[in-house]
């Protein structure tokens, strides 16, 4: 304890006292030493990843390896690089997925923009004299309309749309449009129409003009290069804009539409009615709306999960509990893809900062990218060997073989796992099962052995099966509940046409995995055989006995096919759906630390600051305060005593009472002390401090004041109002 005190004092050097009252100051500038180190370590920036990831081991001999292991700087560099590589990979996967999802809508929008553009061109180009005049062209008695697209985002939160609209902007730009993007922030009462124009000019012309004038835009657009391209203005959150400002803006655009034919694209979060609620009728008349739909967040989420966690399951993966956390956070609290991606990024960061094995991953991925092959156990093993801990270990050679086996098993098992999940998801599309749910269930280790054991029981009774009432009940996956069960139930009732489709799609999915593909072949042949029989029988039936009986037979047969399909799924789930957490070496690319992730991802200041105050001894671990359970002791932190006392009050705390109870508790201490006959020889200073009763009062009052101030800083109490000068208000109730 004593040793640690000096470091505390070093935390508050005297020189900073001046800085405390500066609104801001430069603490220090980047050290040259540091800069040199970074630049030297980096080499050529372009090749940096590959070079430095490979270099540390080859540069260091075995003696140096222990030093290297301890060098936090180098370790950190490796961590950062591994994170950069892995995250860049995930991010590009996600971007591709989202681009593919939006592709058709984006194409439609682009076509529509071109159509609108061509229509406006038909009106005719204004002459130079007309175009440079400072008032709009009004050659028709009927005002021209502003083309506007309502892009229904089907999203409550606007944050995902920002991303989508940025992509749309890039897409349109690449197809030869001038694109400006404004947000509701520009269309606020405070900014007014002038602010909108300024922002608009900044977007189109690239610099701000004072005073902003739409004529500037008109003459810019007259320039030959610009004139051949459509002008597109995107406003991604229509509902959040100030109606009156936007109305004025649109009226202005409609007047200038001949000179500046701006095409509007609105992001609409609610319904198609949104413009009607925002604009008055005369503004609505100026708009010529079309409608486009984006995919829902849930669909986007499933596409991302499929690409990141299932198809590329060996880049980076997460454990069941982490998946559960992310799922619940998405479904119950947040609902945005942005947060999900961010959470994934944080998980990735924590993976590299907390899991030592993770570092191999970055290197292996680099190596494999060079060779353009998948993650291979050979490469992984190569890097495992280079790990200092392995280099020092003489027994490595013996274990090498088994390790190689372990690693390759891990990869095979993962591949099988992902194929099974994809097969289930394909079947799940008929019952509307979300991939996110299925993914969580497929990761659940608790379910895996139970599936297994149920099956073994089934095997025992295998022969008596035909006698059970519902033959489907024999399959363990039918009994587990959850989304897998739901999927299988749907497969049971699937009409034969759809079943054939499903089996076909399974064929595509399993084509690379021979183990599963063979089983699928068996399924296909048995189904085909049934089909053949039934069709033959059908023709006979129709000719001989009529249609009704035939259809019954047909039903029975197709039901048998469904049973075969269920048996196939059951087999897959039982044998191949092994959650990653049960496989050796999964730590290399599987992040499991759910508590840590939750802490870093979701701060909870409202609850935690209160807990800090009420249960401070859990944090400080002092010997003086945690003996007596809930009783308040004078040795406790003043603010803690006061906040605990505040809990006894209602929403209003009488300052007088609060002070008195605080005083009582604080004085317990001195009374007890006085009772002690043998008082430890106190330094004179202390004696002076507690000398007279008055002075003591002053210090208690000062402590009380400081306590109130501290609680005020944390926002837990509110100061007395004019009406109630004797009370402070509690702000937070219940933890």
């Amino acid at each position: 304890m004593a040793a640690s005190s000096p470091s505390n004092s070093s935390l508050q050097p005297l020189s900073t006292a001046e800085n405390d009252l500066q609104p801001f100051f430069v603490l220090h500038k980047a050290s040259h030493h540091g800069k040199d180190r970074t630049s030297a370590g980096q080499g050529k920036p372009r090749k940096r990843n590959k070079l430095s990831l490979r270099s540390p081991q080859s540069a260091n001999n075995p003696e140096g390896s222990s030093a290297e292991e301890c060098d936090p700087h180098l370790c950190q560099k490796t961590q950062i690089e591994a994170f950069d590589i892995v995250w860049a990979k995930i991010e590009s996967t996600i971007k591709d997925v989202l681009r593919d999802l939006n592709a058709s809508v984006f194409n439609n929008i682009q076509q529509w923009v071109m159509e609108c553009f061509n229509t406006t061109r038909l009106v005719g180009e204004p002459s130079i004299a007309e175009a440079t005049r400072s008032f709009p062209v009004l050659n028709n008695t009927t005002p021209l309309k502003v083309y506007s697209a309502l892009v229904i985002t089907r999203n409550i939160e606007f944050v995902d749309d920002i991303m989508t609209f940025e992509e749309l902007g890039l897409f349109l730009k690449s197809h030869g449009c001038h694109v400006a993007m404004l947000s509701s922030m520009e269309f606020s009462l405070k900014n007014g129409i002038a602010g909108c124009l300024k922002a608009l000019l900044r977007e189109f012309l690239g610099s701000s003009f004072d005073p902003s004038d739409i004529q500037t835009l008109a003459s810019w657009y007259r320039e030959q290069d610009n004139y051949n391209k459509p002008l597109v203005l995107m406003i991604n959150d229509l509902e959040r804009c100030c109606g009156s400002v936007l109305t004025e803006f649109i009226l202005m655009l409609s007047e200038w539409v001949v000179k500046v034919p701006i095409i509007l694209i609105f992001g609409v979060a609610t319904t198609v009615d949104a413009p009607r609620n925002i604009f008055p009728s005369h503004a609505l008349e100026c708009l010529c709306p079309s409608m486009f739909m984006l995919v829902t967040p849930a669909e986007r989420m499933d596409a991302i999960v499929e690409a990141v966690f299932i198809k590329h399951c060996t880049t980076f993966n997460i454990g069941h509990k982490v998946a559960q956390l992310l799922r619940n956070y998405f479904i119950n609290q947040d609902g945005t893809i942005t947060s999900f991606i961010r959470a994934l990024k944080v998980a990735c960061l924590l993976h590299f900062s907390t899991e030592p094995l993770s570092l191999i991953q970055g290197r292996v991925i680099v190596e494999d990218e060079v060779r353009n092959s998948g993650l291979s156990p050979e490469t992984m093993l190569k890097y495992l060997e280079e790990l200092p801990s392995y280099a020092r270990n003489e027994e490595v050679d013996q274990t090498k073989k088994s390790m190689a086996e372990g690693l390759s098993e891990l990869l095979t098992v993962q591949k099988l796992w992902s194929t099974v999940v994809l097969c289930l998801y394909e079947a799940g599309k008929y019952s509307g099962v979300r991939l996110l749910d299925l993914f969580c269930e497929a990761l659940n280790q608790v379910l895996y052995p139970s599936r297994d054991s149920v099956c073994s029981k089934r095997d025992e009774k295998d022969h008596g099966l035909s006698s059970t009432n519902d033959p489907c009940q024999q399959y363990s996956i039918m009994q587990s509940g959850g989304s897998i069960c739901q999927i299988v139930r749907k497969v049971r009732d699937l009409p034969s046409g759809k079943l054939d489709q499903l089996i076909e799609s399974w064929e595509e999915l399993t084509v690379d995995i021979s183990e599963i593909h063979e089983k699928l072949k068996i399924l296909q042949s048995s189904v085909r055989c049934k089909d053949g029989k039934s069709s033959r029988r059908n023709s006979k039936d129709i000719s001989k006995r009529g249609v009704s009986k035939g259809s019954i037979h047909n039903d029975k047969d197709s039901r048998m096919s469904n049973l075969h399909a269920i048996a196939f799924l059951d087999d897959l789930v039982r044998n191949y759906l092994r959650p990653i957490e049960g496989i050796p070496f999964h730590e290399i690319f599987c992040f499991k630390n759910v508590e840590k992730l939750q802490l870093v991802l979701i701060g909870d200041p409202r609850r935690r600051i209160q807990v800090d105050l009420l249960e401070f001894h859990n944090i400080l671990h002092c010997s003086c305060c945690n003996k007596s359970g809930k009783a308040l002791l004078p040795s406790m932190h003043d603010s803690s005593i006061m906040y605990s006392l505040a809990q006894e009050h209602g929403d209003l705390i009488n300052l007088h009472d609060w002070f008195q109870s605080f005083r009582t508790i604080v004085l317990q201490h001195t009374n007890k002390r006085k009772q002690k006959p043998k008082q430890t020889p106190l330094p004179k200073k202390r004696k002076d401090m507690s000398g007279s009763e008055d002075q003591n009062d002053a210090s208690i009052q000062a402590r009380f004041c400081r306590g109130v101030t501290e609680l005020q800083i944390t926002g837990l109490v509110r100061m007395p109002s004019k009406r109630r000068p004797d009370f402070v208000q509690r702000i937070a109730f219940g933890i």
Binding site: A2, S5, N8, S10, N19, D20, P23, F24, V26, L27, H28, S31, G34, K35, T38, Q42, P45, F83, F158, V159, M185, T338, R342, S353, L599, V600, L601, I602, G603, R606, R608, I609, D612, I619, L620, M636, H637, D651, N654, L655, H656, D657, Q660, A698, Q701, A702, R703, F704, C705, E710, T714, G715, S721, R723, P725, V728, Q729, I731, A732, F733
Partner: protein, 396 residues
């Protein structure tokens, strides 16, 4: 026993129950915060809000089990408060508790430094929260771990912060790094708008990808940074490629400042719970002592500290008022008179500017309003003539 207020919660109302509930919740959450944001309307709105808030608080109170305490009628004046000077003196010499434990706790956080550095290097920002002043901790982290990077500290707990100056400093630091002669020189930076500066910071290209300037913000929820515009600027600053942010919050409702775009995309916070239990020494400097609150005179020291943190113009406005009060000890100064004097001396350009100065003064209780006999609102400084003279001496 039923809580006395419980009936209010279930009282029939023309509104539908759901909307009432929402109103409760929203009021409850925002009550304190909306006020903090709009300081100028504090006084006027307070009375109306009281009624509304009574509802929301009672909703939550009704859920608390043990809260059937009778409302006490005791007055704050019943406490035998010592002389204010003495109180302030005592406040400076409060014996710290758990010093060793706190030191140990602080030391234990040094183990987290590598993780924090990694988060920063990977493009995240750090948000520190938990009870106790985190100022020393963050600065220690910055000076021990971020030696390779320039670090700018913003003291958000102060009343006024000129964000533009901060941005200029940051731009200069970045320019230093970009060795190539840029068109933007120091002088030009001064004449640029916040918007342009942010664009510059966002677009500046530095060869070294790992390079960044770290911005430490103590109390990003502090009074000087509390308006939504500043928060938007900070969020945009945080989203710049070569800027990383380390900030602390103390207010339990601080996250309400940020919408999802700001919190998740722009700031990109990693939350770290680091209670320190260190006293809020500087952070609490500008809060009035509650027991001294009722007493007539403000101490010279607080007044001059507050005044020194204000702009020279604001100080001069205060001087005008103070001089008037010294020459007319018994009457306040009508606002219109103050305005015309200040205008003559080119201290303010409009009534709005003057009002913003006055709001600042009122918030710190440097200035109060009283109604003159002729019905006019007059301003006065709640200090004795002697104290006022001292304040004037200190700030001049």
């Amino acid at each position: 026993m039923l809580h006395p207020h419980r009936s209010i919660v279930v009282a029939p109302s023309p509104e539908n129950p759901e909307s009432i509930f929402n109103k409760f919740v929203l009021n409850f959450i925002f009550e304190d915060f909306s006020k903090m944001k709009n300081n100028e309307h504090w006084e006027e709105e307070e009375e109306d809000e009281e009624e509304d808030l009574e509802f929301s608080r009672n909703y939550f109170l009704a859920k608390e089990v043990q809260s059937s305490v009778k409302k006490s009628k005791r007055k704050i004046t019943d406490i035998d408060v010592v002389d204010e000077q003495e109180l302030r003196e005592a406040a400076l010499h409060i014996q710290p508790k758990h010093e060793n434990e706190i030191a140990r706790l602080m030391d234990s956080y040094t183990a987290m430094y590598p993780e924090w550095l990694l988060s920063l290097s990977c493009g995240f920002a750090l948000l520190m929260y938990g009870f106790g002043s985190k100022k020393a901790l963050i600065e220690d982290f910055a000076s021990k771990t971020l030696t390779e990077y320039s670090v700018v500290v913003i003291n958000g707990y102060l009343q006024t912060i000129n964000l533009k100056q901060v941005l200029i400093t940051l731009a200069e630091l970045l320019c230093d790094q970009v060795k190539a002669k840029r068109r933007v020189s120091g002088r030009q930076l001064n004449s640029q708008s916040i918007e342009d500066l942010l664009t510059f910071l966002y677009e500046v290209e530095v060869e070294d990808k790992d390079f960044f300037v770290c911005v430490v913000i103590h109390n990003i929820d502090g009074p000087g940074l509390r308006d939504s515009e500043t928060q938007q600027f900070l969020a945009r600053l945080a989203s710049c490629t070569h800027i990383r942010m380390v900030a602390s919050i103390d207010h339990v409702n601080a996250p309400l400042f940020w919408d999802k775009n700001m919190a998740h995309t722009q700031f990109n916070w990693c939350w770290y719970h680091v209670p320190t239990f260190a006293p809020y020494k500087v952070e609490g400097m500008f809060y009035p002592l509650i027991l001294a609150h009722g007493s007539a005179s403000q101490s010279v020291k607080t007044a001059s500290i507050v005044l020194q943190s204000l702009t020279p113009n604001a100080q001069s406005v205060f001087k005008v008022l103070a001089e008037y009060q010294l020459s007319h000890p018994d009457e306040g100064m009508p606002i219109s008179d103050l305005y015309s004097v200040c205008r003559e001396r080119f201290l303010v350009s409009s009534q709005v500017t003057l009002n913003s100065h006055l709001t600042e003064f009122k918030d710190h209780e440097l200035v109060k309003t009283k109604r003159h006999s002729d019905g006019q609102d007059c301003l006065y400084i709640p200090l004795t003539t002697e104290a006022l003279q001292k304040v004037l001496l200190e700030i001049s």
